[in-house]
């Protein structure tokens, strides 16, 4: 049986831990709301863009050459790994890392042997991990989450796109957490480049007769990189929202665990205290009895 003092110390430490996890949960909830707002703000832009893109490509007779859709022999691979900067968010980072590793070992084992895999890490956790494992990691964009804006994400997306066009990379994949709801994140591996032909895109029947300036082809060639950047930005935002969701859930569970632990500790504290009191009473009674017997 632990002593009273020990139990008391543990109760104190668990209480303060619980306070911390509770506070972290609140912070994560606030940040989650902001992250969700960002997604909502991005949506009208993305929606309009894809509308215009659909409109242009539907009225265009020939599909035309799309340099981003060119399928090449896979020699060099870029994998974009989107993790968080901080920990304490459950399996959030480890599941991304795990799925990157299985992606490499299943799909790109040959490229790995030739040393032709490069990783672009967004978020410090993934960066630290893969750096330690001696992968070739591009560190330029790892701090995007510190000041999240479209402009910063755009630069990372442009880096991947330009290097794809130059032929530095033959395929670009993104691995990130998709936000399903607060408690659920789904790890998603998405091929970013070359663009996969979209199967079964819904075609609207009503098209407005537009004037196209300067020409449909030129507009299309401008639209494609724009929508790619939005795609990339969406992945980053999804991951950001997922991170806070995951942290919120993890901290909520931690708070619950602390509560349960406290309950048990209090029980054991009270038992110990009761034991001590009983013992004391017994001693007093025993002592008194001995005294009275002596008097007789």
């Amino acid at each position: 049986m632990p002593s009273l003092k020990e139990v008391k110390n543990r109760i104190n430490s668990v209480t303060s831990t619980q306070q911390i996890t509770k506070a972290m949960k609140m912070v994560a909830a606030a940040k989650l709301r902001r992250a969700q707002e960002r997604i909502l703000l991005m949506r009208p832009y993305a929606k309009k863009l894809s509308e215009i893109l659909q409109n242009v490509s539907a009225t265009l007779s020939s599909e035309g050459e799309n340099p981003y859709g060119e399928i090449k022999e896979i020699k060099k691979v870029l994998i974009v790994v989107i993790t968080s900067d901080r920990g304490l968010c459950g399996a959030f980072n480890s599941s991304v890392i795990k799925s990157v590793q299985s992606l490499i070992s299943e799909k790109y084992s040959k490229q790995l042997k030739d040393g032709q895999i490069e990783l672009l890490c967004i978020g410090a956790k993934g960066f630290d991990y893969f750096k330690k494992k001696n992968f070739f990691v591009i560190s330029q964009y790892k701090d995007i989450f510190q000041k999240l804006s479209f402009d910063a994400v755009r630069q990372a997306a442009e880096f991947a796109m330009n290097n794809f066009l130059n032929g530095n990379y033959d395929v670009v994949e993104i691995v990130y957490n998709e936000f399903k709801n607060v408690a659920t994140q789904i790890v998603k591996v998405q091929q970013f480049l070359p663009i996969l032909p979209q199967a079964g895109t819904t075609h609207q029947n009503v098209y407005t007769e537009y004037i196209f300036e300067p020409s449909k082809e030129e507009i299309l060639s401008e639209l494609i990189p724009k929508s790619l950047k939005i795609e990339f930005y969406k992945a980053v935002l999804e991951s950001n929202a997922s991170e806070h969701g995951a942290r919120m859930t993890a901290m909520d569970k931690a708070t619950d665990n602390a509560k349960e632990l406290l309950r048990q500790l209090r029980l054991s504290y009270n038992r110990t205290r009761q034991d001590a009191i009983t013992k004391e009473i017994l001693e007093i009674v025993g002592g008194a009895n001995a005294l009275t017997q002596q008097q007789w």
């Binding site: 960002r38 703000l41 009208p44 832009y45 309009k48 007769e209 300067p214 401008e222």
Partner: protein, 93 residues
């Protein structure tokens, strides 16, 4: 009885970036830096889609007068008297 409704409708403009909505409201006209040269859209302009190059976007707003935005290229769509400008980056000036 045939009242041309369009007379009463004013042109509506939205300037959107992925981060936020920069401007939305009724305007008298908007001057955009089109890829083939800058042009102005007034009330009831025909439906148009144009790519924009780097340059100045001049909004003649109904409520707050002339607003000039420096943009980094984008796309503009005009349809049913509603203009939507999609830009990636705006430097307010």
């Amino acid at each position: 009885m045939s009242i041309n409704l369009l007379i009463f409708v004013t042109m509506y403009l939205e300037v959107i970036t992925p981060d936020k909505k920069i401007f939305s409201g009724e305007v008298n006209g908007v001057l955009v830096p089109g890829a083939g040269g800058s042009f102005e859209m007034l009330n009831n302009h025909a439906a148009i889609i144009s790519s924009l190059s780097k340059g100045k976007l001049r909004i003649n707003s109904k409520e707050s007068g002339v607003i000039v935005l420096q943009i980094d290229g984008g796309i503009v769509e005009m349809k049913d008297n509603k203009v939507i400008v999609l830009v990636e980056k705006v430097v307010e000036s």
